[in-house]
């Protein structure tokens, strides 16, 4: 496992790989990665979240990483789409990840 990537594992054992810098956006993940825990090795189990929720969260982390650095030309940022039926559970996940 490369140090530049982190793997997130969902409830149904699906794995999502995201870049370390994207994961660091979430204070929760940041603490896990930097702390003295097993997660340091780059594998974080988030068994409380379904895979589709985690997938969306990962999508958001990448979206945030991509666009928060964009300079003054903020007009180019597309909206982040959230399916209505997912919004509640996603809120829980976002709350947990503090993103």
């Amino acid at each position: 496992m490369s140090q530049d990537f982190v793997t997130l594992v969902s409830k149904d054992d699906k794995e999502y790989e995201i870049s370390r810098s994207a994961a660091m956006i979430s204070p929760t993940l940041k603490a896990m990665i930097e702390g003295p825990f097993r997660e340091r090795k780059g594998r974080i189990e988030l068994k409380q979240f379904d895979s589709h929720i985690l997938e969306k969260a990962v999508e958001y982390l990448n979206y945030n990483l991509k666009y928060s650095g964009v300079s003054e030309d903020d007009d180019e940022i597309p909206e982040f789409e959230i399916p209505t039926e997912m919004s509640l559970e996603l809120l829980l996940a976002a709350d947990y990840l503090s993103i």
């Binding site: 979206y63 003054e72 959230i82 919004s87 509640l88 996603l90 809120l91 829980l92 709350d95 990840l97």
Partner: protein, 570 residues
């Protein structure tokens, strides 16, 4: 949300948006385009060529029609015929027309009116090459239009974001989700109809795990969308919430308040803004069923009568620590004295705003006995004379030493005497004051404030507003910044201080300042904006409404947003 960009889309392209008018939209929907008209015309022309006499007969026809222009149903036909007439008639000016046509083709791609300039002879042969050319330019034109529309949309979105003070370009996933939920909550409600209770039970199960901060955010989002009603209120029941704020309760019925009181027994602080439907029964219910309630903030409870206030304060005796009330004419002098007699000794925070039946503010100093009293807010009395220097000085004499927040907005009777004999005299040298708001006190002058700032060290002052204290000049601002307040200030308002000059801002260097309102401070220009950005590292928002010297050329560092600039408006 209330802005057009957030309106549910009725089906993408069908909406009138951008620079398109309703007419353009109609024409598009009906499939009428310049190209169509042109093709039709070509067809007719070739037909005419076959007929030979066609042109003339049509002309005659049109003159006949001209006589009957009153018939509205034929109007469209006539207009079409008239165009043809013009074209036929222009035959004698062929050369001139062709030049004009060519020039137009170069300048304005695919203009819909160009056929007016064509002649019969031209249409027979060479014009046939133009459809291809037209097609190309048409595409080009469409692309251009699309670009313009997109730009406008962007600009509008940016302006809307500015007004929403959304400085962060990428909003957090939590706020995105909350926005989505609140947007759809009423929809779900409609869909489920009578079984809505079940849905909300489910919602609450899920939301039960959400932090209380997010529940309050959800309450905020719901209020903003005016979606808080008895149904959505259920989201907040049976939770461990201790503090709850509803910024817009206008749709919550008295039953709603009662259920809230029954199912959220842990509440210690409750804020109900615009609670017009809160009635006597529900208020007493709240007092009775919420044993831990210590703080109540009400705006607009105009159904509550004098007797109920009396009962309420009797029930809350020795329990009520914070009470803020605004916008009701039924809260009278008697109610105020009831409040003070019953709860005066425990009150630590009191707010009275826009109470049109209260005149006897002189009662306050007698009863505010709590040595932990920290917040006093008296705003917009009905008659300015009700709140005069003497009363405020007396109050400050009583509670000034512990005060952390003082708001005296709109008490326009107050003068320098209050500043010198009240604030300066009774607020200890090393004071605890965190918020000082003296908006619209147009009688206070620079001299008194300079005296106050030089005598009292405001080491903890975070928010300070002198909005529309029209007499204040540079020295007041400079003295404030020489004070210890400089290092703690986070928010400042100098709105409408028209006497200020550029000198006032040279020393404005506050390490923690995040927001400053410089609206209608006419001296503010691009150079001051740049200076402020450089000197205040945390400054993120400057309000510059009405500052016509602030232009689009103002240099701001990244992370600093100007709001209200003329050049940003749509």
């Amino acid at each position: 949300m209330y802005r057009s960009r957030n309106r549910p889309k009725r089906g993408g392209e069908d909406e009138v948006k951008g620079p398109n008018s309703a007419l353009t939209q109609f024409l598009r929907e009906e499939g009428i385009s310049a190209e169509n008209i042109k093709q039709k015309w070509y067809q007719r022309q070739s037909k005419k060529g076959e007929d030979g006499k066609g042109g003339k007969s049509e002309k005659e026809q049109s003159t006949q029609d001209d006589d009957s222009t009153t018939q509205v149903s034929q109007k469209e036909v006539i207009e079409e015929e008239e165009v043809d007439d013009l074209e036929l008639g222009s035959g004698s000016e062929t050369g001139k027309a062709e030049i004009a046509y060519d020039a137009r083709m170069n300048l304005v791609a695919a203009d819909s009116d160009e056929e007016e300039y064509e002649t019969n002879s031209a249409s027979a042969t060479p014009v046939n090459l133009s459809p291809a050319k037209n097609q190309e330019s048409l595409i080009k034109k469409r692309q251009n239009t699309a670009k313009i529309i997109q730009n406008r949309r962007k600009k509008r979105k940016r302006a809307a974001n500015l007004l929403d003070r959304r400085v962060n370009k990428v909003s957090s996933l939590q706020s995105l989700c909350i926005g989505k939920i609140s947007k759809n909550i009423s929809k779900w409600q409609k869909e489920t109809g009578d079984s809505s209770k079940l849905v909300f039970n489910r919602l609450r199960d899920v939301l039960g795990g959400v932090s209380t901060a997010n529940l309050n955010n959800l309450a905020k989002a719901l209020s903003k969308n005016r979606a808080l009603n008895d149904h959505t209120l259920q989201l907040f029941l049976k939770t461990d919430l201790t503090k709850l704020t509803f910024n817009d309760c206008s749709k919550v019925s008295f039953d709603g308040y009662k259920t809230l009181a029954i199912f959220s027994p842990h509440l210690t602080k409750l804020s109900l803004q615009m609670c017009g439907q809160l009635n006597n029964e529900s208020l007493l219910y709240i007092a009775e069923k919420l044993p831990n309630l210590k703080a109540l903030y009400l705006d607009g409870p105009f159904l509550i009568n004098e007797d109920t206030w009396e009962n309420f304060f009797a029930t809350m005796k020795d329990r009520l620590e914070e009470f803020h009330i605004s916008n009701t004419h039924r809260f009278t002098d008697k109610s105020l004295s009831n409040l003070l007699i019953n709860c005066g000794s425990t009150l630590a925070s009191l707010g009275l705003s826009r109470l049109d039946s209260v005149s006897n503010y002189a009662l306050l100093p007698q009863y505010l006995m709590n040595d932990k009293f920290h917040t006093l807010s008296i705003e917009y009395p009905l008659n300015e004379e009700y709140v005069n220097d003497e009363i405020v000085i007396n109050i400050l004499g009583q509670v000034g030493s512990t005060l952390r927040k003082l708001v005296l907005n709109g008490c326009v009777e107050l003068t320098d005497s209050m500043i010198i004999n009240g604030l300066t005299a009774f607020i200890p040298e090393k004071c605890q004051l965190e918020v000082l708001s003296l908006e619209e006190l147009d009688q206070i002058t620079t001299d008194s404030l300079v005296y106050f700032f030089s005598k009292v060290e405001l080491n903890k002052l975070k928010e300070c507003s002198f909005r529309r204290c029209l007499q204040l000049g540079d020295m007041a601002v400079i003295e404030l910044l020489l004070n210890g307040a400089k290092d703690s200030l986070t928010s400042l308002s100098f709105n409408s201080l028209k006497e200020l000059t550029k000198d006032a801002f040279v020393t404005l260097t506050c390490p923690d300042l995040t927001y400053i309102d410089l609206g209608f401070v006419r001296c503010v220009d691009d150079s001051i904006i740049q200076l402020l950005g450089e000197q205040n590292p945390k400054l993120s928002v400057i309000d510059v409404f009405g500052d016509n010297l602030v232009t689009e050329n103002a240099k701001t560092r990244p992370g600093l947003t100007l709001i209200g600039r003329q050049s940003d408006s749509i």
